[in-house]
């Protein structure tokens, strides 16, 4: 496990660069992860997706299904990939500080 300094705070990451503790998340974390996921600048739509993911996770302790994410944010899957080139799991969930998606990937 590595830890990085994000805006003056130590944040622990696993080897895929996901946050070990979702509660440590701040908006600075999203900005920090963005460049590694092929994103130059976070716009309003990025933040909409990120905040949706965080709210959903806070409520249900799980990431939403992709279909739900698209429906609730109004972003098509194609647009999600334009926003987050590495996709909703590796890209947006990482930026939102959610735990690493698991299962038969």
């Amino acid at each position: 496990m590595a830890s990085v300094n994000i805006a003056g705070r130590e944040v622990e990451l696993d080897e895929d660069g996901f946050m070990v503790n979702p509660d440590d998340w701040t908006e600075d974390c999203a900005k920090y992860f963005a460049s590694g996921e092929g994103i130059n600048e976070l716009n309003d739509d990025h933040w909409k997706v990120i905040h949706y993911l965080r709210d959903y996770y806070k409520q249900f302790q799980i990431a939403p299904m992709i279909r739900k994410l698209c429906k609730e944010t109004g972003c098509s899957l194609k647009y999600i990939y334009e926003l987050f080139p590495s996709g909703p799991a590796k890209g947006s969930c990482k930026l939102a500080g959610l735990p690493k998606p698991t299962g038969c990937v």
């Binding site: 080897e15 990939y81 996709g87 799991a89 590796k90």
Partner: protein, 472 residues
């Protein structure tokens, strides 16, 4: 009809693309191989070099030796990856436990799947396999290759990966075993730009479709499995690369009911070739089989003396629907009773052939046990034509997906959704009329749901009205 690719296929010329010289590829002698010692003690694995079957340990040692002797600028990842892998495997043999960490999320930009991230949980002890990601490469239909392609991908993988592969993964992909995160994008670039090849599927998406050898080399094939597999793989690229489903979904294409890619057991949507007219009989060839001039089953049982071929015992009596008979020396088949099990055709391939009005059956819902128990696929469409551009098939696929994507729960396979909503509801939603062929036997319990509109008077009843006729 000759195969026509959707676009011009790139011609690869290994001599122009090669990374390694012949000398580098044969950089060790038999003597050196014999005296090769892995950098770890691996006595248990050494045992697996004995015996007649090709030994994966011996193969891995060859690769380890070659990598030892390549120069530094001819390897971009860890030279010791193979030896560290053997070392960790030996340890797992000792302890009876895996040493790969849980999960791993890596990939390439633009795609949500295709790469399976893997990390050793003993990275300090085996640093060369601290990262050991797997890349699934979409295989050509039926796995026909040219050596130019294979040599080129082998050079690339020796250079940017561990040099170890799996030919092939059980879904069908050519699997590249073990590389680092930094190499993923360069490998993806070279696969696309040099090898003209894409990666396969992983995650909650359409996985890499696979087909049997089909019309390429089999006279039983009832449709062009390769063409349909290739067409649907191309047509559904988006569904393959960017997970959008509740869970994984697999296509497999069998040319006939023999099931050589096991689509009925290992794909959510199984396409199995069949025919609806008569089995073609060559009576002269039947006589030749009876006379013993042609060996049954194309000689598959030659290893043992089973006696002289007896058509009554080995074909007619074994027919599951008992629809065959001999009239004099003529073989007669009552095709209206034939279930197209393939047995007679398999036994006498020179005398019997599938009909000419061919197509596919589509079966849905096969899956492994998790969560609700293993399932083989259930017949949905008894017969459908399978001819380019396959619009009828695509229309059906999309109806099934539409329902499953809307109704499927997180990580619910299609087969489980069908069980949950019940077959009647499922076929109604995807627009299929119920047919006797969909069931093996009618239900034995009487818990039958009716639709309100099918019941005279509906569900709204007044108890007082009932009481006026039936006292309390």
């Amino acid at each position: 009809m000759a195969f026509e690719p959707v676009r011009e296929m790139k011609k690869l010329n290994y001599e122009e693309l090669r990374i390694y010289s012949d000398a580098e590829l044969k950089n060790y002698t038999e003597e050196e191989l014999k005296s090769f010692k892995c950098k770890y003690e691996i006595p248990k694995l050494d045992e697996l070099e004995k015996g007649p079957w090709p030994s994966f340990v011996s193969d891995a040692k060859q690769e380890a030796l070659r990598r030892r002797k390549l120069s530094d600028d001819q390897i971009l990842t860890h030279r010791d990856a193979v030896e560290d892998l053997l070392g960790q495997l030996e340890l797992s043999f000792d302890e009876g436990e895996t040493h790969w960490k849980h999960g791993g999320i890596v990939g390439v930009f633009g795609y949500g799947g295709g790469v399976i991230g893997r990390y050793s949980d003993l990275a300090e002890k085996y640093p060369s396999i601290a990262m050991f990601h797997t890349i699934r490469v979409n295989q050509p239909a039926s796995k026909f290759y040219s050596t130019d392609f294979l040599k080129t991908i082998c050079d690339m993988w020796e250079y940017r990966g561990s040099g170890l592969m799996n030919l092939h993964g059980s879904t069908g992909d050519l699997v590249l075993l073990g590389t680092t995160t930094e190499q993923l994008e360069p490998i993806f670039y070279e696969l696309g730009h040099v090898l003209d090849t894409d990666i396969g599927g992983s995650g909650s998406n359409l996985r890499t479709p696979a087909c049997c050898i089909g019309k390429a080399r089999c006279e039983y094939a009832c449709y062009d499995t390769q063409a349909l597999c290739y067409e649907l793989t191309n047509y559904y690229q988006d569904e393959l690369h960017r997970p959008a489903f509740p869970y994984k979904f697999k296509f497999k294409f069998d040319g006939c009911p023999n099931g050589c890619v096991a689509s009925i057991a290992r794909s959510d949507m199984s396409f199995i070739g069949t025919w609806r007219d008569d089995i073609r009989i060559d009576q002269d060839a039947v006589k030749a089989y009876i006379a013993g001039d042609i060996v049954p089953n194309a000689g598959a049982h030659k290893g043992r003396d089973w006696g002289k071929f007896d058509i009554q015992k080995e074909v007619i009596d074994l027919c599951p629907s008992k629809c065959m008979s001999l009239e004099g020396d003529q073989l007669v088949i009552d095709n209206s009773e034939c279930v197209r099990c393939m047995h007679c055709i398999n036994t006498m391939p020179k005398a019997l052939k599938p009909g000419v009005d061919t197509g596919i059956s589509i079966l849905l819902g096969a899956k492994a046990p998790i969560l609700d128990g293993a399932q083989m696929a259930t017949l949905m469409i008894p017969f459908m034509k399978a001819e380019a551009p396959y619009d009828n098939i695509k229309e059906f696929v999309e109806k099934v997906w539409e329902f499953w994507m809307e109704e499927g729960k997180n990580r619910e396979r299609l087969g489980e959704l069908m069980q949950r909503v019940t077959l009647p509801k499922f076929i109604e939603t995807i627009g299929l009329p119920p047919a006797p062929q969909m069931v093996k036997a009618p239900r034995s319990n009487p818990y039958i749901f009716w639709k309100e509109e099918d019941v005279k008077g509906g569900w709204n009843r007044d108890i007082n009205d009932y009481r006026s006729r039936h006292k309390r």
